[in-house]
Symmetry: C3
Subunit: 351 residues, 3 copies
């Protein structure tokens, strides 16, 4: 990052409640307390790292209000209510530097069909393709090499990164953020087995991605057989996630990397799925359900339930069974001993 | 979808054996019985949803011949032999509307090497790259931003969606359909460990994708070390699937999303792999074998066998063990009780 | 492959210690002993295939020095110290034919910002985008449709294949090889839960990919929240692998396909992860640790340790438990029999 913030500029961003010390050094980076060097900013976000503050070389340190230590030479302590939040504000400022808002307009190398509608405030970057009937909303940014198919609709304030594909007829609502390589609207995986061959079932539905959704790099979302595959408002999806046709994901869910959701499964709001977990098809997962990493769920889940394992069980039961499983060598030994004991008892009782 | 079909046009597609009622509404979408609104088409594909017909708002409903109920006001029932097949015919019509056959020719923005051979009836869409020696067959469609490497050969009637990469020397036969982001011909993962470093083993083989294969978004197929990685005729591969170097997949297999197949493994015809399952390297999987979702197979599988679990066991055995596993808490309790009982018996027999 | 090597040219590549027989056939391909045809080269890399040499139709065969058999008509045996290494040399020659070094220069269709610095010996292929401040090193090859974001830095002798994305501020050192569709520098998956919504934590760090790293098709590496996500020198990553934000991977590791590593986890040098395995977040994995395919690791691993299972256990223990698990049906039977036996003993002792 090519950042350069003076101590005064940082103070202006985080509004410290009090300060200790001073520094003349310009901040050019962020780092953890342990690894920071002169010219970097660090923060104490978790009390367990408190002992690292005294030794840090960071020129500026964000600290909680009650922090008692004193800064070193040419070092500034900024005492704030919530150092983690203060850091997030500094990061947001850096984000603007990293990713400055591009100038509106269509790059000369982009291929935009005459019948596409691109808002005047939108940016269509180099080598994008926007097909007939597609719509690009206000202030939306197609960064580069993005593809929008026929009649695809992208709402206001979206950001589509390089290589994103939004296929024909699919819709993104406001403030959707798609990372590089995301595919929205590939065909669902549906075939009929006829005379020894898999015949394709046409997939003519849409994908609807509601507002404030973010989707990680190279994830794939299939269009519905007909009707809609839906990702609800505010849901966040990590990288390399598969969402099959006719899946309906509720609002504010979290799907970690490499999750797979099979066709026609429905998730309520606030569902959380750990990395590499999977859901079978045609399931209903209740609001707030939590699915542990690498789990494989093949049954409906009640609201608020927690599932773990493959095939999954209720979380606590699976935890308990996992512990007992580790005791199997001991159990087999105990059973063997009992068998010997019983044989002895039989013998002596027969005697 | 921007569809608009009159009742008469739909009847013309599905050829009803009889009709009940009538509607003046133009059909603009498809939906399930429960969610359909006025202006939509619904169908009864499964008798268990029969009770939903009376309440549906759909303007046109496809029903099996024996259906006894009566339509509502401004509602048309079309009675057919097989409502699911009738729907597929309507979808096929919609598919033509969604994805009209593009005009043949090479888009002005595409970069096609002088020594490439593109059939006159083929379409090379915007911003594609076709390298020296590559061949594009009759009526084949490179949609946009597709890459064909040196001497890559794409057969007749193929469809390569945006962002597809077919690397040098790889071949697709007729009617192959590759969804967005598919990579055919990345290097196999092969190294020799020499003096503390992994030295690359050159990967100079091909990938051959036989006719009527469809591959889902962002799946990857590695070229062979030498010789060929093969996907057999009619096989269907879902999204985010990994096929390693020198794998040979038979005909008419189904690989669900996020499957991984390790190097040099061979699959017979009609093999089915559930989502997120994996095969170790150098295995032989017999014709018609079925591998359950999330399974991890490390042994050869006989033709027709069913495998489940990680590491996998025969399906029935794994199912049984999974049930017993859930009874481990009870088993530990029973063993504890027996130990106490045996101790008592020993004491009394000693007394 | 369009290769054509005479027997003399092959001998010139592999420098045989002695030869037997002769052939007039031009070699046009490589194959295994069992499948080779006239005009192909085969090799005996593993003594267990020795019996296949006599029957092979290959025109040229690479054999270990001590091989006793005689060639057939019009067949040449080349006896070498290490047939596998000799083959690798032939493959390396083929590699040059498959992928000839492109001419330096920027293709007319590429979009390169005025402030980007492209070395004179580098190749920027068709339809690439190189943003402001980006740097492309000597002899580096951006093949086609590659994206380099603002201030991204690519070292000397790198090769970025079609569709690769290296986002703003990320760095590749020397001789890095990224296969098609790789994304370096997508945002980390980080949110704060505030008032019922997931608010984005800005991700403003970098990704650093050190020299001699190779990364497989469609893999994704997230930028750090702040500071760096790192892939150490010489590490090799297969296809569809996910590396989350702030992960630090040591040198000379091997990550097989579909591996996932969660945020802030650190791997020492020479770690090996089998296909589809995963690491939870904030872990430390010691040098040389080995993680079996499909394992899920949730605890730190000591240097040199081997882990297996989900959740993982030490390899030997997990192996043993897996065997005992298969004996559960038998164990349940034995416990049932013991219970009956004890009941009988109680009865007889009470009698």
């Amino acid at each position: 990052m090519q950042i350069a913030l003076s101590a005064a500029e940082i103070a202006d961003i985080v509004h410290p409640l009090s300060t200790k010390g001073a520094t003349s050094v310009t901040v050019r980076g962020l780092a953890s307390l342990a690894t920071a060097q002169v010219g970097e900013l660090a923060f104490l976000g978790n009390a367990k790292y408190g002992s690292e503050v005294a030794a840090t070389a960071a020129s500026v340190v964000l600290l909680p209000l009650g922090y008692a230590g004193e800064p070193g030479v040419n070092q500034l302590f900024l005492l704030v209510q919530n150092p983690s939040l203060a850091l997030a504000r500094v990061c947001a400022r850096l984000e603007q530097a990293l990713w400055p808002r591009p100038a509106p307009g269509v790059h000369a190398s982009a291929v935009v069909a005459p019948g596409a509608r691109v808002a005047a405030s939108a940016t269509v970057g180099p080598l994008c393709v926007v097909e007939e009937g597609a719509v690009v909303g206000e202030r939306t940014h197609l960064q580069a090499q993005v593809f929008l198919g026929r009649n695809a609709r992208v709402g206001d304030d979206c950001w589509l990164m390089p290589g994103v594909v939004v296929a024909a007829e699919c819709e993104l609502h406001e403030r959707v953020r798609l990372h590089a390589g995301v595919v929205v609207g590939s065909d669902g995986f549906g075939y009929e087995f006829v005379a020894g061959r898999h015949e394709k079932v046409p997939q003519v539905g849409q994908v609807i991605v509601e507002r404030d959704v973010e989707i990680g790099a190279n994830s794939t979302l299939d269009r519905a057989r007909f009707s809609r595959t839906v990702v609800g408002e505010g849901t966040k999806i990590d990288n390399l996630v598969q969402v099959a046709h006719n899946v309906v994901i509720g609002r504010h869910c979290l799907l970690c990397a490499q999750v797979g959701i099979s066709g026609s499964t429905t998730l309520g709001d606030y569902v959380v799925m750990g990395g590499q977990s999977g859901l079978a098809g045609h399931l209903t997962v209740g609001r707030g359900a939590q699915i542990d990493g690498q789990s494989g769920v093949r049954t409906d889940l009640a609201p608020g339930s927690k599932a773990k394992g493959s095939p999954s069980l209720p979380f606590q039961l699976e935890q308990r069974i996992n512990i007992l499983r580790q005791r199997l060598p001991d159990l087999f030994r105990r059973v063997g001993e009992m068998e010997a004991e019983i044989a002895r008892l039989k013998k002596s009782s027969a005697a």
